[in-house]
Each structure stands twice: as structure tokens, then as C-alpha cells.
């Protein structure tokens, strides 16, 4: 079995890096290898972020994920991309682990713009003048407007309607507050028919992809490993 990790996007990629390292170590301690990779134009990979599109992300995941006996662990947008891969290509993925998945792309883009607007207000600058045609500034990244529109169009609950495979799912809601999240519950419910197994976990811990906290990822990494090993 191969284990593949899909990073999130934007600065969530940087903030969640330590988590991916600790998850890799947890897998290693169990004698397993968690393969981490960056999509072109992100993280350590070649290319410019300005050239990132949903097609380029899909291509990168498809090239890494080729082959049978695969378990994909994704965080935030990485989870959404893994889900998209699984549903769209009816890919032979044994198990999917969706950690705090971005379920509604439009809401995600709205969240990114809100964060950006606050930064813009704080500097008091008219940043609109700094924009290039066809691009916008999101979290310090030159982001294609076409890509932003593609992000908005991604909706996991809607995609779940097309899902027919018998994979196993672990969906983890991570929040500072305890309790269930209606969108995650709805996604899990819509998968329950065709999916082989759907496990939903609610973890009360810092949303570590927002900033880099001195967080203990032990419980989360153990749960992921436990699920992947079943």
C-alpha cells in the first residue's frame, strides 16, 4: 500500500508543514512511508504560483497517485483535491483521509478574500492599483482570477452525489470548539450509501493551518495512522 499526502494551498501549506512532518514520522514509526509532494508552483516545487490552476493541480496529483493500493491523506484543499481525484476519475483509491476538508470552494475563496481585505485595511493602501490584469493577490500569492473561479466552483457535497465507489473514508473536523459541523455531517451522510466505510471524527485542537502554533498533533496523527492501517 502507498500512502500519499496532499498539502493545502496558499499559506496554509506553510503553516501546516510541521503537521505533515509529524504525520510522516508517525507513519515511519509504524514502518510505513508517507509520500509528501508539492504541486507545481507551490511549496518547494518548480514553477510559479501564478500558473497554478485546477487542471495543473489535478495533473500533479494524478501523476503521483498512479497505481493501485493507494491511501490518500489530504488537509484542507489537499483533501478536496484528493476527493475530486477519487470521484472524477473513479480512481482505485483504497482509503481517503479528509482532514478539515474545504467542502464549499466559494466559502473558501470568500474566507481568503476576507483575510486579505483585513490586511489591506491595516496597511491603508489602495492595493487594487497593484493588481495585474487577470490576477489577484491572495495571502501574498499572485493568483490567477481563472483559478479563483475554479476554486469557487468546487463543492464536495455536490460531488458526493456522483460518487459510486466503495472506498473507505475518514473525515476529521478540526476546530477550537467541540461538536459536529453540519457540512461535514452532510458530506458523510451522502457518502454512506456507496462508500465501504465512513468514519467521522471531531477533534478539538487549534486550526493549525491558519498560523503556526506550538501544537501537539499526536492525537490527530495517531487517528490517521490507525485508520490507514485497518
Amino acid at each position: 500500500m502507498r500512502y500519499l499526502y496532499c498539502h493545502p494551498l496558499f499559506d496554509e501549506r506553510k503553516c501546516a508543514h510541521r503537521f505533515s512532518f509529524q504525520l510522516k514520522n508517525t507513519f515511519e514509526s509504524a514502518g510505513l512511508t508517507l509520500e509528501r509532494f508539492d504541486y507545481r508552483g507551490t511549496g518547494e516545487a518548480e514553477g510559479e504560483f501564478a500558473d497554478v490552476s485546477l487542471e495543473s493541480l489535478r495533473r500533479d496529483l494524478e501523476s503521483r497517485a498512479a497505481g493501485d493500493e493507494l491511501c490518500i491523506v489530504g488537509l484542507r484543499f489537499g483533501a478536496s483535491l484528493a476527493f475530486d481525484y477519487c470521484v472524477r476519475l473513479a480512481a482505485p483509491v483504497k482509503a481517503l483521509v479528509l482532514l478539515a476538508p474545504v467542502i464549499d470552494g466559494a466559502e473558501y475563496v470568500d474566507h481568503l478574500y476576507r483575510k486579505q481585505r483585513i490586511k489591506d485595511v491595516m496597511t491603508g493602501e489602495s492595493l487594487a492599483a497593484l493588481r495585474d490584469e487577470g490576477y489577484d493577490n491572495l495571502e501574498g500569492y499572485k493568483t490567477g482570477v481563472k483559478f479563483i473561479e475554479q476554486l469557487k466552483g468546487l463543492n464536495l457535497t455536490r460531488m458526493a452525489g456522483e460518487y459510486t465507489l466503495g472506498n473507505s473514508f475518514l473525515i476529521v473536523r478540526i476546530s477550537n470548539r467541540s461538536g459536529a459541523e453540519p457540512t461535514i455531517t452532510a458530506l458523510a451522510e451522502s457518502l454512506k450509501g456507496p462508500a465501504k466505510r465512513v468514519v467521522v471524527e471531531n477533534l478539538e485542537m487549534p486550526m493549525f493551518w491558519e498560523r503556526i502554533p506550538n501544537a501537539d498533533y499526536g492525537e490527530l496523527t495517531r487517528k490517521v495512522l490507525q485508520f490507514c492501517c485497518v
Binding site: 499559506d11 501549506r13 506553510k14 508543514h17 510541521r18 512532518f21 512511508t33 509520500e35 509528501r36 509532494f37 508539492d38 507551490t42 511549496g43 518547494e44 516545487a45 518548480e46 504560483f49 501564478a50 476576507r114 481585505r117 483585513i118 490586511k119 485595511v121 491595516m122 496597511t123 491603508g124 493602501e125 492595493l127 497593484l130 493577490n137 495571502e139 501574498g140 500569492y141 499572485k142 477550537n176 470548539r177 487549534p206 498560523r211 503556526i212 502554533p213 506550538n214
Partner: protein, 286 residues
Amino acid sequence: MRTTVSSHEKYYSSAASEVGCFSSGDNELSYSCVIPPNSGRPGVIFVHAADGNRLGPHRMFVEMARRFNRLGYPTLRFDLRGCGDSTGGASDGDIAAEVADVLDAIRFFTAKTGLKEVILLGISRGSFVCHSAMLQHELPLGGMILLSAPISSGRTALKSFGGRLREYFCKLRDPKLLWKLLSGRANIRHIWRTLATALKLGRRYKPPQKEGFASRCPILLVYGGKDHIRAESSQYYTAKYQQNGLSCDCRFVPGANHSFFHYRWKDQVCAMAEQWLEKMRSGTSR
């Protein structure tokens, strides 16, 4: 010094760079290194900010390193202890531990490349670490580029605290975020922690007592024009370097904040650093 490059790390890295680990004390520090062939230029070592990693804010270090590589500068980006892919616990405010990591990074990089001189490039706390290393240790430095280098004072702490408060007031003007607060879903503990951290800026980067520098090299300081630490910090560092007869160039990126949160600002910082490196090189070679 042990260097390991596992097949996994090779897979994880881009084709042109080498990724591996070097030792620093009990820790293995993870790095990404690019050595352009026969460049004759000094190497650049990137030192990231508190709680950051070698990607830099908004992938700034990756983008800067690529630009430097295209000009022929070898680069080393590495994760300080407890950060990124490096082992160990976070230094937790221990500057000496981070300085030790930088010294080991210099030793590793010069041994690997055979370079006689390196340039240190730090951002925020990383800049403070570079400055401290230069003060205390004899190092083969060809220059230092310090982005948003901080220094503590009561005034910077108040400004930082005021900035954070203003940020929260801005958030309250957003109906969605206001509702989050009113419905009890806001993380109040985190808000208090953020405000307390801002106030602690009054102590976090205390000016080192040591007079004189163990190492000497030209310095480029870069600040965001809207960074609330820029006035006191730029004055402190400029005066300190000039008093010690060190060449110091201080520049501002108009409108930019502490972490240069716009791709155009990142471009400007990269361009400033490139020009400075090339100018310094042509001055040296003349």
C-alpha cells in the same frame, strides 16, 4: 558533520535542488540547497522567522532563492530546530540556540561548496538571529540582508499592540466575523494570547549589550513602509552599524507591512536584494 539525502527527500524535492539534513547539536536540520555551476558568487543562507520554515512567508524564500540561483548565487534554505522538517523542539525564544543553528548552517554550506564567504538573509526574528550571530562570532560573511529586522522597545510594543487591536476592530466591521464573536464561536483565548504576544515585543528583541562586532560586512536593511516597527528598528540598526564603521544601506518598500503581504512587495524586496548583491559584487571585483 553528517549529511543525509534519502530517496524520499529526493522525491519530495524539486529536480534542481538537493534536499537533506545536517547536524546541529543533537538535532538534524533539514535543508534545500542549490549550487549553480561555476558561478564564482558567494552563497546565500536564508534564516526564517519565528515559527516559520524554509519556505518563508508566502513562499518568499523559495522565490528569492530561485532568482538568486538564476544569477549564479548558490543558496541554502534550512529549517531551524523544531521547525519545518528539522528535529528537536522549538527554540522557544532562545536566540543562542538559533544562532548555533545558523553557525552550523554556515559551516555545512561552506564545507559543501568550498565557498570562502556567505551572505546571511534573514526575515523578522531570523534577521535578529543573523545580527546576533554577527555580533558574537567570527564568521566568513560577505554581507547580510536583513528584512524587517526587529528591536524591542516600549514604543514598538505599544505600536504592535495598537496594530493588533486595530486589526481586531477591522474584523468586527466584517458582519460575518462580528457574528462569529457574538455567537461565541471566536477563539477568545487566542485573541488574548495574540495581544499579549504583541505587548511582549517590548522584551523579545532586546538590544544585545555587546559593543563592537566579531564579524564585519556590508548590510542591507529592508522594511515595509507600513510596518509599525520600521522607525525605531531601522534607526537602531543603522546607527549601530554606522557607529561601528560598517557599510549599511536601509531601504523601504512603500506601503508594505512586516511580512510583505503582496506579491508586488515580494517582487520589490527580491529586486532590491538582487541589485544590492550585484552592486556589492561589482564593487568587490573592481
